[in-house]
Amino acid sequence: MAERRIRIDEITKIEGHANLTVEIEDEELKRVIFGVHEGSRYFEAFMKGKSYIYLHELAGRICGICTVAHELASVKAVENALGIQVPENAEKLRELMLISSHIQSHILHLYFLALPDYMNAESVISLTLTHKNLVKKAFRIKEATNYMTSLIGGRAVQPCTLKVGGFTKRISKECIERYRKKMKEIYPLLVETAELFLSLEYPPYERDNEYLALYNGKSIPLYDGKIKSTHVEFPAEKYMEHIKEYIVDYSTAKRSRIDGKDYMVGALSRLNLNPYLRDEARELAESYRISFPNNRVALINAAQAIENVHYALESLEIADSTKEYEPKKINVGRIDGEGIAAIEAPRGLLIHHYRIKKGRCTYANIITPTAMNTENIERNLQGYLSEIACESDDVIRVEAEKLIRAYDPCISCSVHVVRVK
């Protein structure tokens, strides 16, 4: 067999615009190029000069799927920079909001983007014809989680209640109770979802990846923690010493390495690094003979489904202990400073870093999960596709897309700017 070149100009069912080129020569994989061709969006450029009160509003607009994570990371970084203490209940409410948005994002990804691959369906729209109840179930969970996010955030996409130091509105006990009730209501559906996604047949490909996630030694943190990788552990403030960004000429998204190595972030990383799954979730996974840590890349999807169960239970606990929030006037002590915040977005670690002078941003750096994952995606594609290089173009195309989609890449995030040192 001679040279083959497989190209997908626009990978569908991922957020943003990316392409893939696979070159195969005599049944041997030569090259894989995972390129991003979304237009650049200059966020870090126009954040400069903006008042600190607007930064999280802008950050939310980096990505429509992880808006909650971006807004939270941003507002937290500003609070760190200005030394503002956030009341405990506000932190808890933020965590609740993050959890419901996580579940929402996972459901969107699992049912709408990933599932059609495993059901031989073209899209979720064709699934509405063949598996109407399944789709309805997905809609029900999505609707419920969106509702929960908007209970705290005002709306699900681009929440509008966050402000530096807390929230803009009163969040009553009743509101929290409604959140709890809704979460309880959809919990059985989340378990069903997990069962479905644990039973799918995923590509068997494994690789000993470097994983990276937040870590606190007692749970699987989303909102706060140190950064831990398979080999090293450091506080978020030290990210620059370990995570180095670079660009390649065929992509508008920047990439990054940790201590010179490509790495993976996301649901699988979280579970691999934090052995604190709640019993219900762990047992559920084990009943399908899946346990963590696990090196099978495509299991990201299963990990997400398991996470849903875990975080649903976590959120019920948090909601129980959260007190009503009353907005207070925030005393901004200083208007200069530097702040870094790391948060777990649905698709992995997210870092926001600002310098603020006289209340205005003078420097912004944002590292998004997809930017962290890009090289890892490319490496794992290389690994997996070389195992199946003898297959037909169509098979390679489908399998490649499956693997890419498993990461739930968020391209819009990754191109907010390209910065070259």
Partner: protein
């Protein structure tokens, strides 16, 4: 009827908002075929009857894509703030090219194009305002199309809906709120949640922008603060007023 949802450079929050219609999508599918939706579909067809376009072109490729969509659809709907006003992306137009390039380390990854509203390039039949757009308004538009009604833009400000919700006025409390000049239709979501309006729906036709600038100055906001707020979402639509304010 065939519909397509297209995405240019943006956060894709509007696509997500479209999926957030949840079960209403099933109602929708009784009347429409969603033939083109890259976020959710493997096979995407053209032409379509109604094209919903989110985002704004930021490179030449995307401009060509937009022109092609316009050619291959009957009705083009600008979906969300980026498509309607250029959105936050257009803020880069407030800086000189040189300034923007400096952040890039001096070399751009491609020839950049200034983010502009879609109607700068093509005719737009309907606008759905907001970042993200309002689901109610989308359903209103779709219902109007099905029933053959005229869909009208709301020609009044956010204040109208805000006062109908009996909110405490944020301007009175000293916040920089753009409610009086921003197009209504969002049911005053942000002010109802205690956050001043940032003007994500852009100014409405009849807005008394200069009058509001005076009001803000009387409250005590500086020129810089007002310019900053005005340019957050609608720099392209408010360029002239911002220029006038700078001169003043």
């Amino acid at each position: 009827m065939k519909i397509g949802i297209f995405s240019l450079s943006c956060c894709e929050g509007c696509s997500v908002q479209f999926l957030n219609l949840e079960e209403k999508i099933l109602d929708l599918l009784k009347h429409f075929g969603i033939e083109n939706f890259r976020l959710a579909k493997e096979y995407n067809e053209m032409p379509v009857d109604i094209a919903f376009v989110e985002g704004t072109p930021t490179n030449r490729e995307e401009i060509l894509k937009l022109l092609k969509i316009r050619k291959d659809c009957n009705v083009l709907v600008a979906l969300g703030t980026c498509a309607v006003t250029g959105g936050v992306s257009a803020m880069v137009n407030t800086m000189s090219k040189k300034e923007a390039m400096e952040v890039y380390g001096g070399f751009p990854p491609e020839m950049p194009v200034d983010p502009k509203p879609l109607d700068y390039y093509v005719d737009v039949d309907y606008h759905l305002y907001g970042c993200p757009f309002s689901k109610e308004e989308l359903m209103e538009l779709i219902t109007s199309i099905i029933l053959g009604k005229k869909y009208k833009d709301k020609e009044y400000s956010v204040c109208v809906e805000c006062s109908l919700r009996e909110n405490n006025c944020l301007l009175d409390q000293g916040y920089l709120c753009l409610g009086p000049i921003t197009r209504g239709g969002c049911k005053a979501l942000c002010p109802s949640n205690g956050k001043p309006c940032l003007g994500c729906r852009g100014p409405y036709e009849d807005a008394n922008i200069k009058g509001h600038i005076k009001v803000l100055q009387d409250i005590g906001f500086s020129k810089e603060e007002i310019i900053e707020a005005l340019s957050l979402f609608s720099y392209e639509k408010l360029k002239e007023v911002i220029g006038w304010l700078k001169e003043e």
